[in-house]
Symmetry: C2
Subunit: 148 residues, 2 copies
Amino acid sequence: MPHDSHSKPQTGPALNAAQARALGALQAAGRPLTAYEVLDALREDQPRAAPPTAYRALRRLIDLGLVHRLESLNAYTPCVHEHDAADAGASQATLFAICDDCGNVREITDAPLARRMRQLAEEGAFTPASTIIEMHGRCGGCASEGGA
Amino acid sequence: MPHDSHSKPQTGPALNAAQARALGALQAAGRPLTAYEVLDALREDQPRAAPPTAYRALRRLIDLGLVHRLESLNAYTPCVHEHDAADAGASQATLFAICDDCGNVREITDAPLARRMRQLAEEGAFTPASTIIEMHGRCGGCASEGGA
DNA sequence: GAGACGAATGTTATATTGTAACCGCTGAGC
DNA sequence: GCTCAGCGGTTACAATATAACATTCGTCTC
């Protein structure tokens, strides 16, 4: 069974088997996954899959705006907002709040923040293509639990 | 020669030979250096130096607030502002504008940006410990040169 | 339908980045 | 002098990522 072309038409752009599997794994995990964790998920379908298969699927998902890469973790997380990847630099500024205790990641988009970033870029004659904002710290849940 | 305590008294805290050499290499480079490029610089003094020597020196310099790590490049750049590392999460928000054409990096600190980040964290009951803001794109110089 | 061609994917191998764990020196305190 | 703690050196390896080549598949042409 090489591939079935009628599997997931509703998502929008067609994803191949590896891409769909990778996205599913990321959505199911509830936490960021490394490329090699995604690879492990792909191997449930294709036991011989190798790293480039995972990296190519992830790149495609990122290009489609369905997944983000967290640079400070070398990990990947599904995007909870719908937006075009083409917007990444200009109008979007997505902030990730990463709890170093529980690993939870919150994705936040904020217009005033994006506006200020654009303004700073403009003042510096800089044309942004993509922006990374990652905050590490402690989420509310972990702060109230482990007071120490 | 374990360490000479009279090498650079004006910088503040004492740096050992490897740390001073690493910082010098970063300042001289004019662009971010990878850990292994810093290691090459260290080897001019200590030809047998191994990766942990470079990583330890870099970590120390980061802890002292003298160097930043650029997560999106896996590279390191000297800090042009004087500030305590302890501030990193709370009052400081340092933005790096990275030109993908020429590799130049500009370090920008901006109070309104930092304020908005703090506010967003607070609204989400999140306690930030450190924040990464990296903008990729094209600097003014490169935009005016290579119009294409 | 056979063959040529290009795009996508599979596969192998290796490059790059980073760290665990142990060793040995040096210097402080006794 | 002896012990011990801490730092830095060293070895070995783990984790992350990509280059380069082989194969497959679909499509176009004739």
